[in-house]
Symmetry: C2
Subunit: 256 residues, 2 copies
């Protein structure tokens, strides 16, 4: 069966999309088959993998709201073993359209049943909110990964995210587990980064990945070319960090 | 009458909260009376001004959903002339609870009527989404200010934001005007920052503020101490940039 991982944090701009794309590409580089599922109406994971979201015919919106078969939406990317389930702007309507539906929190879990086992990993890139889209991701996922910037506001929101995870675990998905917290945009030179990362390790202990992602402008540049860092500049410290993370993640899952 | 400015961009982590707090403090420093209105369930503007959102008795949730008088929620801050209308986590429920209500898009505009003219400026810090909370801000506001990071994903979302502004302007608030786009976290050394800022100026022309905000870790540190940069480190280039922005904004409004 596939390992379904929700990459989520309601705080904006902490590296959810950058991690979905580059961790996905690094896992694909290890020979695993990977699906990046874009669950954000901004469709950044879609454009970050070189796909124009305005030209997408079938997207995650259709899976959630029209019961379209998920096979119809999946497309290959420029990276071998890496596939994309794209998003479009249309998804912004899902927050309202899902509200009156039966089993609205389980639409994604039900939609993904037919491809269970087809990929080794499914990485779900979540929007910056704790609404019905993120609850759908947490209900469908086996694991949660929380990217976190080493700054104050990012720390504030963690209790809230923990509460939402607990609610989903008790009401909808008892097997949901925290896979780990990933420190992103780390600038080891600043006192703030060091202080916040100490607080995070104090709070989460072993649940913090040893691998962390440094702040590297090439990661942002790669996004503007629609390429993962592995293709754009594979010897950059950002690319090395995501490869290291992919190996650590594989080891963590084997150990479970 | 007050100048109501919605500070919004659905892209996460572009500096909406940092701008609401520090532009607010800089305008207060010019002797203007300013209200920072926190419309984000993350309540970052609330904690960034030194207020513990878990101890807030009356918040923006009560104004929107319970018709509580807005006076009851406003509190002073450590900065002279700067006031806060706080948020709490409870606000996350507003996205769903507002859906069935009559005139749901106008709840904020109606709630703020009784304090019209009491402040020279009201800065509304929006959440990273284009849902009912942001639509409420755009319906209540006279002006929109769009903070933008000089990176790719931030550029992608602008068309979408423009479309939402147009929809609100034609259906709910004909006088809504774009006050300007603010370039934030600018790192002049990187090619990406320069390229994206050229694209933004090409697209928005005079609607881009001449003042821009450099990336400065002290701005993030100030947030962890719950202080605006003007108090935390007032000779920092981030503090100088926000003071310059405050003056430019005042001039732009006088010219209207
Ligand atoms: N390690 C890094 N070094 C430098 N820039 C980075 C890094 N990670 C992400 N970025 C850049 O920071 C910005 C925010 O990252 P990203 O869009 O991945 O965050 P997000 O959490 O997905 O945002 P949102 O909340 O809007 O979905 C982007 O412009 C991205 O290119
Ligand atoms: N000019 C700057 N230089 C350095 N760091 C900054 C700057 N502006 C903001 N930051 C930091 O970047 C992070 C994102 O900024 P901020 O929280 O203000 O963005 P936002 O758009 O309000 O995010 P959200 O979408 O979650 O509401 C914060 O940790 C903040 O302290
Ligand atoms: Mg994202
Ligand atoms: Mg904010």
């Amino acid at each position: 069966t596939s390992a379904l991982i929700a990459i989520t944090n309601q705080k904006g701009g902490v590296g959810k999309t950058t991690t979905s794309i580059n961790l996905g590409a690094a896992l694909a580089g290890l020979g695993e088959s990977v699906l990046v599922l874009d669950l954000d109406p901004q469709a950044n994971a879609t454009s970050g993998l070189g796909v124009n979201h305005e030209e997408v015919a079938v997207s995650i919106y259709d899976i959630l709201l029209k019961d379209t078969p998920v096979e119809d939406a999946i497309e290959p990317t420029a990276v071998r073993n890496l596939y994309l389930l794209p998003s479009t702007r249309h998804l912004v309507d899902a927050n309202i359209e899902l509200v009156p539906m039966m089993a609205r929190e389980q639409k994604l879990r039900n939609g993904l049943r037919e491809i269970d086992g087809q990929f080794s990993y499914v990485l779900i890139d979540c929007p910056p909110s704790l609404g019905l889209l993120t609850v759908n991701a947490l209900t469908a996922a086996h694991y949660v990964m929380i990217p976190m910037q080493c700054e104050q506001y990012a720390l504030d929101g963690l209790m809230e995210l923990n509460r939402t995870i607990e609610m989903v675990r008790s009401a909808l998905n008892p097997s949901l587990e925290l896979l780990g917290v990933l420190l992103t945009m780390m600038d080891g030179r600043t006192r703030l980064s060091r202080e916040v990362s100490e607080q995070v390790k104090g709070y989460f202990g072993d649940n913090v990945f040893r691998s962390y992602i440094p702040r590297r402008v090439r990661l942002a540049e790669a996004a503007s070319y629609g390429e993962p860092i592995d293709i754009f500049d594979n010897m950059n410290r950002g690319a090395i960090a995501y490869r290291r993370l992919a190996e650590e993640l594989r080891d963590r899952l084997k150990a479970k």
